[in-house]
């Protein structure tokens, strides 16, 4: 389907391995200062302070969760008032059903708030980090599969405007990469 020549592989970027979390942390600071944009570090666990080293701000996922929670509260209040007060008032043990019944509606409102907020968290997370995505050029590299064990990796994409075939490679070994690999599509 694609017009490109299948026998010739296209460069996706460089994947560099670092000694440990500290080396990766300092390398990330330098990559950040060089104003690269399409790059990331891959670690077996979230490295403390890496957001700062990469120049990333606070995650904005919490906004979505707030929206989810508010939707949950409104859904629950709507469901209860609509069915209990307007649609079919259920009078049990002579307990009234009207607008002031709200204390009895708190538990369900609370639970649905949590439920909707939790759904917003997980769906928002997957949307922001763009998962599931089972195919990614990085998975072509045997080195990459070590990130989930004990490897500290950094990749810079060839699509980055600052990317240069030789200079970026040199730059990566300057900042302390122990091993550099080319990743192809």
């Amino acid at each position: 389907m694609s017009t490109s020549d299948h026998s010739k592989k296209e460069l996706f970027g460089y994947l560099a391995q670092f000694e440990d979390a500290t080396a990766l942390y300092h390398a990330a600071e330098k990559v950040r200062d060089k104003k690269f944009r399409r790059w990331d570090v891959h670690t077996p666990f979230p490295v403390h302070g890496m957001d700062h080293a990469m120049g990333l701000g606070k995650s904005w996922l919490s906004v979505l969760v707030l929206v989810g929670g508010v939707c949950g509260s409104l859904t629950a209040l709507g469901l209860q008032f609509f069915t209990q007060v307007s649609l079919y008032p259920t009078v049990v043990q002579d307990k009234p059903t009207n607008l002031f019944t709200i204390p009895a509606f708190f538990p369900v409102t609370f639970e649905l708030t949590i439920l909707f907020a939790a759904f917003a968290t997980v769906l928002g997370l997957f949307t922001i980090i763009m998962l599931p995505r089972w195919n990614h050029p990085l998975f072509n590299s045997p080195l990459f599969s070590k990130f989930s064990n004990d490897a500290f990796l950094l990749h810079i994409e060839a699509r980055d405007p600052k990317f240069h075939h030789e200079k970026t490679r040199e730059f990566l070994s300057e900042v302390g990469a122990a091993r550099i690999e080319e990743i192809n599509y």
Binding site: P44, M54, S59, V65, Q84, F105, V108, F110, L115, F126
Partner: protein, 481 residues
Amino acid sequence: MADTTQANLLTAVHPSEAEGVAREPLVLNQRSLGWITDRICGIVENRQPLIWWILFVPSVAGFLALVFSLFYLVSTGVGVWGMNHPVAWGWDIVNFVFWIGIGHAGTLISAILFLTRQKWRTSVNRAAEAMTIFAVICAGIFPGFHVGRFWMVWFLAPIPNSNGIWQNFKSPLLWDVFAVSTYFTVSLIFWYVGLIPDLASLRDRAKSLLRKRIYGFFALGWRGGNRQWRHYEMAYLLLAALATPLVLSVHTVVSFDFATSVIPGWHTTIFPPYFVAGAIFGGFAMVLTLMLPIRKLYGLEDLFTHKHIDNMAKIILLTGTIVGYAYIMELFISYYAGNAYETDAFHMRILSGPYTWAYYCMFFCNVISPQIFWFKWARHNLWVVFIIANFVNAGMWFERFVIIPTSLARDFLPGQWGYYSASWVEKTLFVGSFGLFLMLFLLFLRFLPVIAISEVKGVLPESDPHYPAWKRLRLGRRGEK
């Protein structure tokens, strides 16, 4: 003061030491990242030990007994249970509250200890969360079949029936439906989100294509990039923040099933906090009951250390004492409030009633036996910890028995009094629910990482990017290289 702080700072190997507290390491013997992956993934990848099969076969048998007795129950009718007037809530509701309470420690360990930055939780939270999910599954069976006509269970969902009548949203029983189903869903989400990086570890180590595909499918293509981790960590934090009030609300709502009624012995304002403390207490005991054998069996002593067991024993001691306070306060209030029915209910509960044996079993198991954890030697003797944890498991079952059927057996009019004992169907269901629980837990051990790999790696001292600087400072001070 300033001088000592400065000295501590210079000799510290890790920031935590600089605070003047030399902490026990969370992972012993300075294990490497690779060792942690190998050890935990190895459980899933290697053949299971013989004991796994020895436990698995009876668990499946128990599960089949559960299925059989449910089939018998549905095909014959709820009359096969020993319940009748006046005791309409018997072992089924006892088991429901028992199992749901066990689930709560899982959420406590994973959410509340996460929010309070208790790093030792990383070794236990995965197993505890799995325990939560399986316990809530077991719990859900009982009220589901308690409704009598199981095929009408959809009445619990907010859907009008054929006469256009809606559920009574003012009823605590409906609140319970919402609370428990929300709890199950959120626990499942929390567990799965936590599993994603570890499923990626299993995917990347898989030798066969099938394993790679299955674990790869559920790992969703996780790449461990920091652009993923930063949102992932926020999601985990938010889920913990949502699960914390949720777990408190769930057992509060469960206690409302009783507390909002007028039965003497149930109609008590102390129930919500008392139920929550009891749930956490019983759940921690179950976590220890499961984790102590696993630790030994799979060689996880370096990851699940004496420090963890010690901390959990202290929580059992604390919550057990809170529960003891609640028992005594209940008695005091029944006397102090001066309501004749209330006073009588508690008089019969502890002195003259037909179920006093259950009260004293409960009191001994839940209040007296954990007091041994005041002593360090007891917290460090695994046999003592295991035996006390099982006392607590039994005691918490008795607590629910004491509250539920014994209050119903003796209410306002002596002409209505009765005695309740369970039939073989109820007993089989209870044993069978343990079979289901153990079967699910053993399958979890077989197919999923029992310890959160990425989280344990994150609490190693060398995982802190500033660790080498601290180490250099200290070694330089000692004149070493």
